[in-house]
Symmetry: C2
Subunit: 316 residues, 2 copies
């Protein structure tokens, strides 16, 4: 792949017309926000631009794509992907489209397009898109700024995660200056707890099992508890952070029952422990800080297997 | 009070030596962080500077004041207050000290010092202190940057609240550039839940009273529930956000019992309601979004009084 600078990327866009923007599978705020901002930015320069409709886009992000999508690739479009780490991650319907330019921040991106930018120092792809838009001379409007703010804030846990840099915060500052109602976005994305999730949190607080002086937390979530609380999959999105955020916890294992009765484990670890090693011993995999495994048994049996591995690895 | 610009304030500091910095009662991250950063900044210029020890400083912020405090005012100190809205808010032991200069961001500050800055456009007093330090030619080091980051992030709920501006985010960016480990601070201040607070959250989830189809939340916190959960004042810092963050809640009233048996109300409202009007009707005051009042009765009686006001104002 030909590596481009921000300025070269801007010139690429300025020299062409008729763009189709691709997002990734299971779209998050970064890919959704980048696509919306880029599409609007290109249109503001008088160019034709669409986002390929991503059937997996959730209700939360749909408003940002309203009026910008197309159901099938228009002919002779210049195809651009945003925040897509590999061809396999292209959204349904886009798997075989030839990507002419990609903008991404995943270090693992091998460069599946003809040209593009992979900047793993960017906390969100939104940082890259903002810089490209400004280099094109786009005047950020409220809608672009809000889409970019969604991109920046979702990939950084609203600027809390370790990936947040001075550049991320300055990019967010530019969005606020361009009129983004950051408060409303923060409320909707980060501060609002649904009643069902609050009920489940209360259950988990009272049933979490703490071992090794509170350093290790086992959090079994029976299907019955999920049903009684009334949670949806949206509510469960960050459930593995629940035990991890308890003070003193350095290793947290969350247990959920899948549709077919298996037990799905999410393992989260501070640098003191290796989540991947534990997952590996249970037939799963992942990173040092976050890993997972699925066991063909119920939660009680899975708990015993986890305890056995923790003991064998000298953790308990 | 003589109103100073940032530059005039910098010149005031540069022309003098021997400073005593005052924080406010029930100190939060803004006053604590401002005092630490200002003290270190003045010392970095070779000046003598101390923070008057605030006996109410909680464990969370004590590390930031280590090595900077003095138990009693040194003679002939130039007395400076940071983030103190009124003389009555000066920390214990400082009530009668003549404040020569104040730096504050509370719009209600009537200017109780000889000179100073009251910039209500600043989300945190930390924004003002940062600008003064830079105007003095202070080179931000890691300790100053982290103290300022604490100031900026605590007063904005880690950049989530409506008071956050582009300037706040740029100030935070400057802190990161100067070496602040924002991630560690964010983990400690915003992501870590102490076990006692988790127990109290579970209690509140199960006892919160929802009215008007869940738009109004009353959250009574009996002393017994606080004691059984084992919470400290640190744990209770943002308790009024707990009912407010429940999806659908637009008006939240939190009830706590004070040392002498009174009931302290914290009222939080979305723009649909006026927290200040409710507080006013109960003998208190505040802003449209956040207000409070103290009632000389127990929580059950206070609840009745609140319900009466809500009915009278057509809210229930």
């Amino acid at each position: 792949m030909q590596k481009l600078t921000i300025e070269e990327t801007a010139r690429f866009f300025l020299a062409r017309d008729g763009f189709l923007i691709l997002t990734h599978r299971r779209p998050d705020g970064d890919t959704a926000g980048c696509a919306a901002a880029l599409c609007r930015g290109l249109r503001s320069l008088g160019k034709e631009a669409y986002i390929l409709r991503n059937p997996q886009l959730t209700a939360r992000y749909q408003p940002y794509h309203r009026g910008l999508t197309v159901a099938a690739p228009p002919e002779d479009s210049v195809i651009v992907s945003v925040d897509v780490a590999s061809p396999g991650m292209l959204c349904p319907g886009a798997e075989k489209l030839p990507v002419e330019l990609l903008l991404d921040h995943h270090g693992s991106n091998l460069g599946f397009a003809y040209r593009g930018i992979v900047d793993s120092g960017a906390a969100a792809c939104g940082e890259i898109v903002l810089r490209v838009l400004l280099a094109m001379g786009v005047r950020l409007d409220k809608a672009m700024a809000e889409a970019l703010y969604v991109a920046l804030s979702t990939d950084t846990g609203c600027f809390r995660y370790a990936n947040t840099t001075a550049r991320t915060l300055r990019a967010a500052a530019a969005c606020l200056e361009a009129g983004a109602n950051a408060y409303a976005i923060n409320r909707a994305l980060f501060e609002t707890v649904r009643p069902a999730r609050m009920r489940l949190n209360a259950y988990l607080s009272q049933h979490m099992e703490l071992l090794r002086n509170g350093k290790v937390a086992l959090c079994l979530i029976p299907l019955l508890a999920e049903r009684e609380a009334g949670v949806t999959e949206d509510d469960m999105e960050d459930i593995s952070n629940f035990p991890r955020n308890l003070e003193g916890v350095e290793l947290a294992v969350t247990f959920r029952t899948t549709e077919n009765g298996d037990t799905k484990l999410s393992i989260r670890a501070t640098p003191a422990y290796d989540a991947a090693a534990i997952a590996l011993a249970l037939g799963g995999g992942g990173h040092r800080g976050a890993a997972g495994a699925t066991l063909s048994c119920d939660q009680a049996q899975a708990r015993k297997m986890v305890l056995a591995v923790l003991e064998k690895q000298g953790i308990l």
